[in-house]
């Protein structure tokens, strides 16, 4: 079974995804990291927790771009891409919260300390869960696509404000917020960057891969249900 009959078994970027993710796993767990108080070995979570959020923001960004494209030319392809990339974005968001809770358990003392950053990201995910509730409440597919695209565009700026702007104003344990220095300030030495950036690219590409698979799955489902 080949996944793409024209170009051979796998596209170049899928091979790149596999290489980058394996590199992240191996280098992330085995390469030397700076010794820091409190963080200790848990600093390796930087390679997994932070790329989750990067991937989520990028996937949701793709979703918004496709929502705008859908409103401008009403092509079904864009609606499908918008929904599925929002889906993948939510999965990354949940993984980001879970990895963050794990990290918080060992550095802040408990998994959920009602930190502004934690609460904001949980509420931020609610925005996108509401997006799917909204989609579920329509029976007419054209209305559904159009109005959920409008909500999607409205939600993204509110989501960004919630996640990036708000936690910075209050005191937070999270690095980069409430006067705490960001990670760059003290520990992201050049060795960590060598793993950190490939991890971001790898997880983002994985997100896009999952999205394309889901779109193809939906297309086949549609074909089986309705014919052409």
């Amino acid at each position: 079974m080949t996944t793409n009959t024209k170009k051979g078994p796998l596209n170049w970027w899928k091979i790149l995804t596999i290489i980058l993710l394996f590199y992240t796993l191996i280098a992330g767990f085995l390469f030397p990291v700076p010794r820091l108080p409190i963080l200790n070995e848990s600093i390796r979570n930087l390679y997994f927790h932070v790329p989750m959020w990067f991937a989520m923001i990028i996937m949701l960004g793709i979703s918004v771009v496709n929502a705008v494209l859908y409103l401008s030319n009403e092509n079904w392809k864009h609606d499908k891409t918008a929904v599925e990339s929002a889906n993948t974005g939510i999965v990354f968001g949940i993984l980001g919260i879970v990895t963050g809770m794990l990290w918080a358990k060992f550095t802040w003392g408990e998994p959920w300390s009602n930190d502004p950053k934690q609460n904001a990201s949980a509420i931020g995910l609610l925005i996108y869960l509401a997006y799917f509730i909204l989609r579920g409440s329509f029976s007419d597919p054209v209305q559904k696509a159009k109005i959920s695209a409008i909500y999607n565009i409205l939600a993204y700026p509110a989501f960004l404000a919630l996640i990036f702007v708000l936690p910075r104003l209050t005191s937070s344990l999270h690095p980069g917020n409430g006067g705490n220095p960001g990670f760059n300030a003290y520990d992201l030495d050049s060795k960590m960057r060598l793993v950190f950036y490939p991890a971001i690219i790898g997880f983002t590409l994985l997100g896009w891969w999952i999205t394309t698979l889901r779109i193809r799955f939906k297309n086949i489902e549609h074909l089986i249900k309705w014919g052409n």
């Binding site: 509730i133 909204l134 159009k146 409008i150 509110a158 708000l166 104003l169």
Partner: protein, 102 residues
Amino acid sequence: MDNRVEDNLLFIINILLASLSFASALTMISAIAAKAGNNATLMAILGFPVILPLLLLIIKISKAAMDGLDRSLSIDEIGIVLSINVIIITVTYLLFPYLWRS
């Protein structure tokens, strides 16, 4: 009753800001909910996460106004509420025609 507002001007400005924020955010949300069969629950579900950041900021400003803190401490929050408003109003202004026509 020892619960007076110390800084009346800031408090009134904050009330105006709050009304503007709620009006701008909820206009679009309620229009969307109305298109989805006028479901009252949907309005709450969609509105809550969008309103919450604004609400938190406004509560912070009004607390500062009631305690009579120096106004320079609240200027950051006022700026952010205003900029969120500008973003939401701009997006709503651009999107409303699409919602109306559908």
